[in-house]
């Protein structure tokens, strides 16, 4: 299709604007890193407490060479994946249960609210005593944080089902299972997928919190370990890796969301 001159002009302007935004973002990061490095080297910032970009890079490199970095990352990734997967599946099943048994939903409603408003870290020590200071405790911690969000989101998606469509299926003689399978679940696909992003954020919080509490491996552990031996380079390295990891995971889930929502509306 041919484009009018004005349309071309508009697109060009958009492109320029986008470039400018990216340029500014890079500028901010680079200035920040250089400033940090210079100030630390000139001892204006105490490098022992604040570390510095080169020291962080060096630490990451050493951790990598020494071999522990990859296993820290994979441990954390594994826990994130597990907690995310269990959270979604369990949330889905419980949401179905609540949707099918309306009285149950009424009964558990205040408990869900209570649990939702409770700062879950407070339960950390009990979890450790109950399930032990191991990976299980980390998963339980993460589930405490991501599960309620999943349940509530998916359940609300279910509740949004069009009454007229339910009537229609009933007129075909549909069973409850058929109504779920053909209408309620596919109809809530959008809501469920949109809740994935929130869920992954919650899972990240839960897993790192869990690792702070119990672990012997993982990025959270690395950060805590660095603090204990007062090696701030390790702490900063852990945080930087976590930032990158979270960013990649979050973008991955966003991409997945886009892919899944494409096409049919």
């Amino acid at each position: 299709m041919s484009m009018s001159a004005n349309q071309k002009k508009f697109l060009l302007k958009e492109k320029k604007n986008r470039r400018f935004v990216i340029f500014m973002q890079l500028l901010i990061i680079i200035t920040f890193l250089i400033l940090w490095e210079v100030l630390a080297n000139k001892k204006i910032l105490n490098p022992f407490i604040f570390s510095s970009p080169t020291r962080i890079c060096l630490t990451i490199k050493n951790l990598f060479i020494e071999g522990s970095l990859i296993s820290h990352i994979t441990t954390t990734l594994y826990e994130i994946f597990l907690a995310f997967f269990i959270g979604i599946s369990l949330g889905f099943l419980i949401a179905i249960l609540l949707y099918e048994i309306k009285t149950l939903a009424k009964i558990v409603d205040p408990f869900l609210t209570m649990l939702n408003s409770l700062p879950k870290v407070a339960l950390g020590p009990i979890i450790i005593i109950w399930v032990g200071a191991n990976t299980k405790a980390i998963i339980v911690m993460a589930l405490l944080i991501n599960l309620i969000v999943s349940i509530v989101n998916i359940y609300n998606g279910f509740l949004g089902t069009d009454e007229i469509k339910i009537k229609l299926l009933k007129s075909f003689g549909a069973s409850k299972i058929q109504i779920l399978r053909y209408l309620v679940i596919p109809g809530s696909k959008r809501t469920i997928i949109s809740s994935l992003k929130l869920n992954i954020s919650m899972t990240l919080i839960g897993v790192i919190m869990g690792e702070f509490l119990v672990s012997k491996k993982g990025i959270g552990y690395l950060i805590i370990y660095g603090t204990q031996v007062f090696n701030l380079n390790i702490v900063m390295a852990g945080i930087v890796i976590l930032i990158i990891l979270s960013f990649i995971i979050y973008e991955g889930v966003s991409l997945l969301e886009k892919k899944l929502l494409q096409g049919k509306n």
């Binding site: 007229i164 229609l168 007129s171 053909y182 509306n265």
Partner: protein, 249 residues
């Protein structure tokens, strides 16, 4: 002609926290095979309740209704087309068959034939959002017809459409029903639609409803749009308008 449906002293109440809502006071009605009966009444008088009971979606409170067949297949269509946006037109059209576990080769072929007859074949693999309101309504009707219903219950099936498409689609649907010779109970709040489409018009009183009057319609044409131009049409229209006793104030 035999009666396909006999309704006797039917009553319906809803029980809510705010109190009992009596929707149907008493309705007795016989519907003949192949007949198109339209029910008109003011908004909220209990029309949908009646159809819901006949479609086995609502429970009646009292009275009885009996179909001539022991296990009749009932085709039910509501206000909007209620097509599933994530299914293609063809998948939508066979949804009822699937649910009722009647999706045999033969029945699916029948659906394909219906889609073809009613000019929807080229849209088989498209999604509902790519179709006009009228086309979607036709797909919804085909989804219902796929089950080869003994009786069709249509609850204001055109009310979501604008006036232009409404005339066109109601003509389409009317033709389809006539051609497939299906007994139909149509609920409408549009008197013109009622008079131009049906063999009988049942006028209901306000809530809780009972039957106020029944008109036999014998308009000359098979085309509802032509029927609207006749003198009989205007007379019936005025008469029913008076019966409905709608206060515009």
């Amino acid at each position: 002609m035999n009666n396909i449906l006999e309704i006797t002293n039917l009553e319906k109440s809803y029980y809510t926290k705010q109190g009992e809502i009596k929707a149907i006071k008493n309705i007795s009605l016989q519907v003949k095979e192949g007949e198109i009966v339209t029910i008109v009444g003011t908004s909220g008088c209990g029309k949908s309740s009646l159809l819901g009971i006949l479609a086995n979606i609502e429970n009646k409170s009292n009275g009885l209704f009996k179909f001539s067949k022991a296990k009749p297949t009932i085709g039910y269509m509501l206000q909007n087309d209620a097509l599933f946006p994530w299914l293609t037109i063809y998948e939508n059209a066979i949804l009822g068959l699937k649910i009722a576990k009647k999706d045999t080769m033969e029945n699916k072929e029948y659906v394909k034939k219906l889609l073809k007859t009613y000019n929807l074949e080229e849209f088989n693999n498209k999604y509902p959002n790519e179709l006009s309101g009228g086309m979607k309504q036709r797909v919804a009707l085909i989804r219902t017809l796929a089950l080869k219903p003994d009786i069709l219950l249509l609850d204001e099936p055109f009310s979501a459409l604008d006036y232009q498409s409404r005339l066109a689609v109601s003509k389409d649907v009317f033709n389809i029903i006539k051609k497939e010779k299906i007994t139909t109970i149509l609920v409408s709040h549009d008197i013109g639609e009622a008079v131009s489409l049906s063999d009988r018009v049942v006028v209901l009183s306000k809530r809780p409803c009972s039957i106020k009057k029944i008109y036999e319609i014998n308009l000359p044409s098979d085309n509802p749009i032509d029927n609207r131009k006749t003198k009989e049409f205007s007379e019936l229209y005025d008469q029913i308008w008076k019966d409905l006793d709608v206060y515009v104030s």
